[in-house]
């Protein structure tokens, strides 16, 4: 099957200043995005944060009120959806219920004037690629959720679009199948070479799959970066809270990257300077926190003394919730190993972290 091996060159996508209002409510506010050809970008955020609206404007289902959408250097802001040549995988697949799997996949080819015979041949090829050749003649209702998902994928890439949009494509599947499909989607996308914009509200999915992630909140992108950027260098407390597990301590900035809170002092790299006396937050990842008996406490900076309030067993790790003496709480995840010391509820402990493992944010 020669056409299965042709690698599409991904398209470059640019959004600039894209804004969409529904009545008075601003759904998306001045979004700027730049995608490299072949890049896998995930839009991550809570529901109603504007990620699906953005996707719909890229696909052409919605018109932005202002701003432009550019695909491979040509502006498509007002181009109707059917003339955009963008593949879309819908949330509940939107497979045509009256057509068999293979006819669903052949549909976009027939729309492009490919003869029925040739369209079916290529559709069978695409189904082979998603390992569904044997179900080609079944109707969508006769396929399982995972199989429908694969047909939807095949249908979206069979016409070799430069850009693939996926709107929570795995939302309807159970956890185990979702993990398998994540890998499969990544494999397929790499194989066809398209640029991908992927929408999800599942942060693990975003971290696993993406080259870059755009964190949406209330219609704006809070931060755009790689998984590592977002996890280790969150730009806002929203990002820190949304991506991964974190402890966020609120205190008062000393103006030099030091924050003082109730019974603790923290110092670390600052994201944007916070004037002295303003409120500031410290973000600490629980796996970076070390616990020791309270009497061993040495330093006073990046340290909190308190009592173990809860112990949560997580399998390979144990999570301690430490209630600090000043009233703040800090979480610590400790890996179980041959020589780890275990604490019990009520033990007096000292929680410490190093300066490079915490981030100071203004808030």
């Amino acid at each position: 099957m020669p056409d299965n091996n042709t690698v599409t060159t991904g398209a470059a996508l640019t959004l600039s200043g894209v804004t969409k209002k529904f009545g008075d409510a601003v759904a998306v506010h001045e979004i700027d995005l730049d995608l490299m050809p072949g890049e896998f970008l995930t839009m991550l955020g809570p529901s109603g944060s504007g990620k699906t609206t953005t996707l719909n404007m890229i696909a052409g289902f919605l018109q932005p009120d202002s701003g432009t959408v550019t695909l491979d250097g040509r502006e498509i802001t007002r181009t109707p959806a059917h003339a955009r040549n963008i593949g879309v995988v819908f949330q509940n697949y939107a497979l045509f219920p009256h057509l068999s799997a293979v006819r669903n996949v052949a549909f976009p080819l027939e729309m492009r004037g490919v003869s029925r015979k040739e369209a079916l041949r290529r559709a069978h090829g695409a189904l082979e690629l998603v390992e569904l050749e044997k179900c080609a003649d079944r109707r969508p209702a006769q396929l399982s959720g995972g199989q429908q998902q694969r047909v939807a994928l095949a249908r979206a890439f069979v016409f070799e679009p430069g850009l693939l949009l996926m709107d929570e494509p795995l939302g309807a599947l159970d956890k185990r199948l979702r993990e398998t499909m994540q890998l499969e989607i990544m494999r397929l996308c790499r194989r066809v070479g398209s640029t991908v914009v992927y929408v999800t509200h599942d942060q693990e999915e975003a971290l696993t799959m993406s080259d870059r992630i755009a964190i949406y909140n209330e219609g704006v992108i809070e931060q755009l970066g790689t998984a590592e950027d977002l996890y280790e260098r969150p730009a806002t407390t929203f990002v820190a809270d949304f991506v991964g597990d974190s402890t966020i301590l609120k205190g008062e900035s000393q103006g030099d990257g030091t924050v003082v809170g109730a019974g603790w002092t923290a110092a670390g790299p600052e994201r944007g300077a916070t004037p002295k006396g303003d409120p500031a937050s410290v973000v600490i990842r629980p796996e970076m926190v070390r616990l020791s008996p309270a009497e061993d406490a040495k330093s006073t900076v990046n340290q909190m003394t308190g009592e173990v309030a809860d112990v949560v067993y997580l399998g390979s790790q144990v999570k301690y919730i430490v209630a600090g003496d000043g009233g703040d709480e800090v979480h610590a995840k400790v890996a179980r190993s041959a020589q780890w010391s275990r604490f019990e509820r009520g033990d007096r402990v000292s929680a410490t972290w190093s300066a490079e493992d915490c981030v100071v944010l203004s808030s």
Binding site: G60, L62, R74, E75, I76, R78, T79, P80, R84, N85
Partner: protein, 285 residues
């Protein structure tokens, strides 16, 4: 793929595209106005052609009072019998295997689709003095002389219940299918015995379907004509029969007035019961 000024894509889908909705509905509205509403209005005018004499005679005559009494009694009895037969039937339909359910559903739907006249004369053949029912009764030794079933009120009730039963079974079945089985398990786990579980949980949850079924059966029964004319006693006539008779023998005036009374009565009952059900539903919530 050319880029240029193209009209904005539609938001509400191709067929849901705004505008044009009224134009599509208009033919139907006009048609019903001319061939449905206008005839009813015309009938109201006809009934009042000689002042309100027609209404006066209807309201004061003991003959018509008896007719309306009969109509209400027969409709109420039909509703009650239908409910008694349909409730267990719908309940069993919900508890059996899918294959069996399909069969039970087909038993309900087949008569529903079969001609009303065919069913009515089948009943004549079955219920007549020399018919199968009387033969069976005599063979069983329950009676020596044939029991008159045709041209009696029980005869009408048998025929009408047979015709109206599907209208009761279907809403009840739907209402019961909607009851979440876990609620019944919950009731059991909370200590309800089967009888209380039924009375306190299942019955209240199926009440909307029950109300809908009764309303449907009762109001449709009020207007019956064919079945009582074929199976009923002439002395126990229902309004529908009298209206048809009036048209044949005396012209439109009294028939129209009777029709308006029947129509108004039906609508009032519909509205009152619908409002009651709404209030009941709200207070239940």
């Amino acid at each position: 793929m050319t880029v240029g000024t193209v009209p904005a894509p539609r938001r509400r889908g191709l067929l849901g595209l705004g505008g044009g909705g009224w134009a599509l509905v208009l033919p139907l509205v006009l048609f019903l106005a001319v061939f449905f509403l206008y005839p009813l209005v015309q009938m109201a005018r006809e009934s009042a052609a000689g002042g309100f004499a027609a209404y006066e005679s209807i309201l004061t005559s003991p003959v018509y009072r008896k007719v309306f009494g009969n109509t209400l009694t027969i409709a109420a009895a039909t509703t009650a019998i239908c409910l008694v037969l349909a409730y267990p039937y719908a309940y069993v339909m919900n508890r059996v295997s899918p294959r069996m359910r399909l069969a039970l559903m087909a038993f309900v739907l087949l008569p529903f689709w079969a001609s009303l006249l065919v069913r009515s004369f089948a009943w004549i053949a079955l219920l007549q003095d020399s018919g199968l029912v009387n033969q069976a009764l005599q063979a069983l030794g329950l009676t020596d002389d044939p029991v008159s079933l045709i041209r009696t009120t029980p005869g009408v009730l048998i025929g009408m219940v047979h015709i109206m039963l599907p209208y009761m079974v279907l809403p009840l079945y739907t209402a019961m299918a909607r009851v979440d089985d876990r609620l019944l398990l919950a009731a059991s786990s909370l200590g309800a015995n089967p009888r209380r579980r039924f009375v306190r949980v299942f019955l209240p949850l199926t009440l909307p379907g029950l109300a809908a079924g009764c309303l449907l059966v009762f109001t449709i029964s009020l207007g019956f004509y064919i079945t009582p004319a074929l199976l009923g006693a002439p002395s126990q006539a229902m309004v529908g029969e009298v209206i048809a008779e009036q048209v044949e023998q005396f012209g439109l005036s009294t028939a129209s007035a009777l029709g308006i009374v029947l129509l108004t009565g039906t609508l009032v009952i519909l509205v009152v019961i619908a409002l009651l059900a709404k209030r009941l539903g709200r207070s239940a919530r």
